[in-house]
Symmetry: C2
Subunit: 222 residues, 2 copies
Amino acid sequence: MKHRAQAGNAELESQKARSKLEDNAVPKVGMEPIRRQQLINATMTAINEVGLADATVIRISRHAGVSAGIISHYFGGKDGLLEATMRQILHDLGTAVSERRRTLTDTSPRAHLSAIIDGNFDSSQVNASAARTWLAFWASSVHKPELQRLQYVNDRRLYANLCHQFRRLMPRDEARDCARGMAAMIDGLWLRGALSPEGLDVAGARRVALEYLDRLIRDYNG
Amino acid sequence: MKHRAQAGNAELESQKARSKLEDNAVPKVGMEPIRRQQLINATMTAINEVGLADATVIRISRHAGVSAGIISHYFGGKDGLLEATMRQILHDLGTAVSERRRTLTDTSPRAHLSAIIDGNFDSSQVNASAARTWLAFWASSVHKPELQRLQYVNDRRLYANLCHQFRRLMPRDEARDCARGMAAMIDGLWLRGALSPEGLDVAGARRVALEYLDRLIRDYNG
DNA sequence: CGTTTTATATTGAACGTGCAATCAACAAAA
DNA sequence: TTTTGTTGATTGCACGTTCAATATAAAACG
């Protein structure tokens, strides 16, 4: 398992350096996890470059350095790849958040809440590829039940986490509004970052979000 | 001018009632503004129904009760129609905001700011068609220069309006952060409303946004 | 007033393009 | 020999655009 993962990383790192000939000449076994990861990364790269509408299977597979047929082979089709890509992004977000919360020494509500905020602005999330892919999935999830389900689960998790921490500080109804507001603030900063040609100003976004957090809890806890 | 506009409304209102035969039998002059509006409305309806990716010219034109060729005739092509649709939405938003600010009796910063908030949650903006069309354009504006330009202008206008009002209450740097935060809050509530299957809870969104506003200005002005 | 001419409005079949998916063929590893 | 990995030409389909054809409204004319 460890070895395979390392081999995968090595493959990925040298992906651009390898020529097509080398690639053709070395069909090894155990490629599936490597290829899947390559294709997911290539999908984000392609969406960042030309948008979801023009991210064709040929374009994506070229970015991954493989042929187009591979996508159907490993993901059953383009839709499967897009779904896997969204899963990856959601998974990375979940990891970024829970990792920060796990390593907290301070267990106060404020500490948890700021860890949630920081996790949402983690570098794995705010780079141009991830941000624009997020945005594309937001838009298309509205009309694709499977993506909608993924988006909904993620959304509820963020809200529930926020609500639970605010609940430690204030009555239920107030906590609900605070969680609503905080979730909207995070998504809004995110959205504006994805739309901005310069990308998200992480420091600025964190400052605004944390200041909002402090205003929300000022009346209840220092 | 007045007559033509009224004829246009009459056309629009009876749009669904008229049969194709009637339609074919009555090619009148002065149809351009009517058709343009019909097609823009049909575009939003189609995007609401199946998303931007599946909003084909045939689907849109069927919604408008005309043939597909008309789109190229009046808008030069599908892209022209999409651009005109985004322009319409931005125009409606601008109108909703400036109308509320124009009729203010109270000229305090808080009154202006809450008018801006209310305008952004105006009924012309928060219905499912408009909200989902907004979302679709957000995503595609990233890769289409003309849509990006429109989106950017609108964005700066909101930010500048917010900043100007906050500036009346506090120093420049603080006002900037407040405007940043308020803009993110509005967009975030909007985004979450567009993603939610139940649509935007306008009353709840206004409450959260206004409460945030009051927290921001509490230290400076009652 | 009736008739011809011109301008405007609209259709829908035809066309070319570009896409995702398929699959026969091949290559290396086990 | 079987399993796993990969290619790329082929296929079929759906899309946006074009344009010849048609039909009415308005204008010009006698």
